[in-house]
């Protein structure tokens, strides 16, 4: 079953077209990474799923129900973590969660149970301070706790890790991985390593449409570049290697920069051996020989080029 369906969504602010006929679906129990440059329309898309913004045209379905702009009943399925969550600073974490629980219609006992579960999970147990004294990381963790409070079917995290230091990011990513056991997660970001770490499928938002969409592994395979990088001990050797490689038939292109030579070739596993033969025949000493794996960053840069 699809938890989320975006059908032909367009949105413009005045003359500026942000989303242009955006279509995608997110199946149940996946971690979907929505990536794109700053200003690509990620937050706009997420706010429309929440009913906070009105699409210029198109339709959004959450768990099969239509999202209505303004008051939308579909929010009962959703937990939402904004990019910079803003809380009432004069409350404690527990008070805030209790308020959210009441708003969402949980019973007193349920609220108590959920709060007792969630506070330790996000590492805010026993912290009696008011929220205004919290660090960004703590606020982000409280944001996750409130998002998970009503055991949502869909957890939407907008740039949840962008403003955090490496440790804070790791904590949030770990939390999201845990949460993903019980719910579907949509995670928007421009930090590609975070996506590679937790997401199983991705969508790349570029110029208002989804330029890429699919399982992370498939996307990487499609964009696999068959390349080898060889590092020699000095620039003279690199130059020699470059000249020899240029003459080989199976080589598509060769580039050299300082001591390193990067080669694009057909069938690197088989033809790579020929390169190694060449190295040994010509007595070119090397320090490193590496098959280049496609990174999401390369894919990203390739697509938005």
């Amino acid at each position: 079953m699809n938890i989320l369906e975006m059908r032909h969504i367009s949105k413009n602010f005045g003359k500026h077209l942000v989303l242009n006929d955006l279509n995608f679906t997110v199946p149940e129990h996946s971690i979907f990474g929505l990536i794109g440059k700053n200003g690509a329309g990620k937050t706009t898309a997420m706010k429309m799923i929440m009913g906070f913004l009105k699409p210029t045209s198109g339709k959004i379905l959450v768990c099969g129900e239509n999202v209505a702009y303004g008051n939308t009943a579909t929010n009962r399925f959703i937990g939402y973590l904004p990019d910079v969550p803003e809380f009432y600073g004069y409350m404690t974490a527990k008070e805030y969660l209790v308020m959210c629980g009441r708003i969402t219609g949980l019973k007193k006992l349920q609220i108590h149970e959920r709060v007792q579960e969630l506070l330790p999970l996000v590492g805010l147990d026993g912290i009696k301070r008011e929220i205004h004294s919290f660090s960004r990381g703590m606020k982000q963790r409280l944001g996750i706790a409130q998002a998970l409070l009503n055991t949502p079917k869909l957890l939407i995290c907008d740039e949840a890790t962008s403003a955090l230091d490496p440790q804070g990011r790791k904590e949030i990513l770990d939390l999201l991985s845990v949460a993903a056991d019980q719910t579907t997660v949509i995670f928007s970001t421009h930090i590609l390593s975070d996506v590679e770490r937790i997401c199983d499928s991705i969508g790349l938002l570029h110029e208002g449409t989804l330029a890429l969409h699919g399982k992370l592994s498939e996307v990487k395979n499609t964009y696999r570049k068959e390349a080898v990088r060889i590092e020699t001990i000095d620039e003279v050797q690199a130059r020699r290697l470059f000249e020899h490689l240029r003459t080989l038939s199976f080589i598509q292109s060769v580039e050299t920069s300082q001591c390193a030579v990067t080669v694009q070739l057909h069938d690197p596993q088989k033809n790579g051996l020929k390169i190694i033969d060449l190295l040994s025949d010509e007595q070119i000493p090397i320090t490193n020989y590496q098959l280049l794996e496609p990174t999401l960053e390369n894919v990203f840069l390739d697509v938005i080029k």
């Binding site: 929440m50 008051n71 959703i78 009441r102």
Partner: protein, 254 residues
């Protein structure tokens, strides 16, 4: 209903923790105390600043004078205090983005407006009642009671004006952006009402009449029936302001 109760409680907690309750109650209590005191001491003050050769003839202050001061304080300074204390009632929430999470948890937008209005009205009512009681007590202590007509209705008119001001403030905060938009529009709106009253003589339906005729009502110089009509029309105005605020807020981009 869940949402309304939870958000109403949150509003009251916010007012307490952000010292709004403290400020509002102290200022109104001071008004309650000061009004009869100024009325009592006014002849002495004037006598001391009297210019040589001028004879000031001041009648003995009465019960009415104490309430004149009270109404003057509340309709001028009181309005300013009310606007300053509740100026950010909705604007702050919108400008800071603190409403996003509660709304994402399924809080209805109608409940936001109603809870905010109900909490502000509760605080206004309580502080006003406190001020009135203090004022009444001191007035009884300083002056003998004289028979006045429509004292309760006169007080009610002032309260109703406060209620109108809060509703208008909410509507103004819905239609504007930024942390002070609502406050500015409300101040501008009051200015327009003043102009309507002063220049165009649009009296019968002008809520400002509720705070300009209280004393005249006490001394029997203003007609009760007319003011009653203004009170009814203000009630209708409050209701329609709130409904409009709810309708517009429902369609507002957050």
């Amino acid at each position: 209903m869940n949402g309304f109760t939870a958000f109403f409680k949150k509003e009251l907690l916010e007012a307490i923790r952000n010292y709004r309750v403290l400020i509002l109650f102290s200022v109104t209590a001071i008004f309650g105390m000061m009004s009869p005191l100024t009325a009592k001491m006014m002849p002495d003050i004037l006598a001391n600043v009297g210019v040589e050769g001028m004879v000031l003839k001041i009648p003995e202050p009465t019960f009415i004078d104490a309430f004149t001061q009270f109404f003057k304080n509340f309709s001028q300074m009181g309005t300013v205090v009310l606007l300053l204390v509740f100026g950010g009632l909705l604007s702050q929430d919108l400008a800071k983005g603190t409403l996003i999470i509660p709304l994402s948890k399924g809080l209805s937008r109608h409940a936001v407006i109603l809870a905010k209005y109900a909490s502000a009205l509760t605080l206004w009512t309580l502080s006003y009642a406190l001020a009135t009681l203090i004022n009444y007590g001191y007035t009884l202590y300083f002056f003998q009671t004289i028979s006045v007509s429509h004292l309760f209705f006169s007080l009610f008119c002032l309260w109703l004006f406060g209620a109108f001001l809060l509703a208008f403030l909410l509507l103004a905060s819905v239609v504007t952006r930024g942390a002070f938009g609502g406050l500015l529009v409300t101040a501008a709106g009051l200015g327009i009402l003043l102009i309507c009253q002063a220049i165009f003589r649009m009296d019968p339906f002008n809520p400002l009449k509720l705070v300009s005729e209280n004393v005249a009502l006490l001394t029997g110089k203003a007609a009760f029936d007319q003011l009653l009509n203004t009170a009814w029309s203000t009630c209708a105005l409050i209701l329609s302001t709130l409904i409009l605020a709810m309708m517009l807020f429902k369609k507002k981009s957050i």
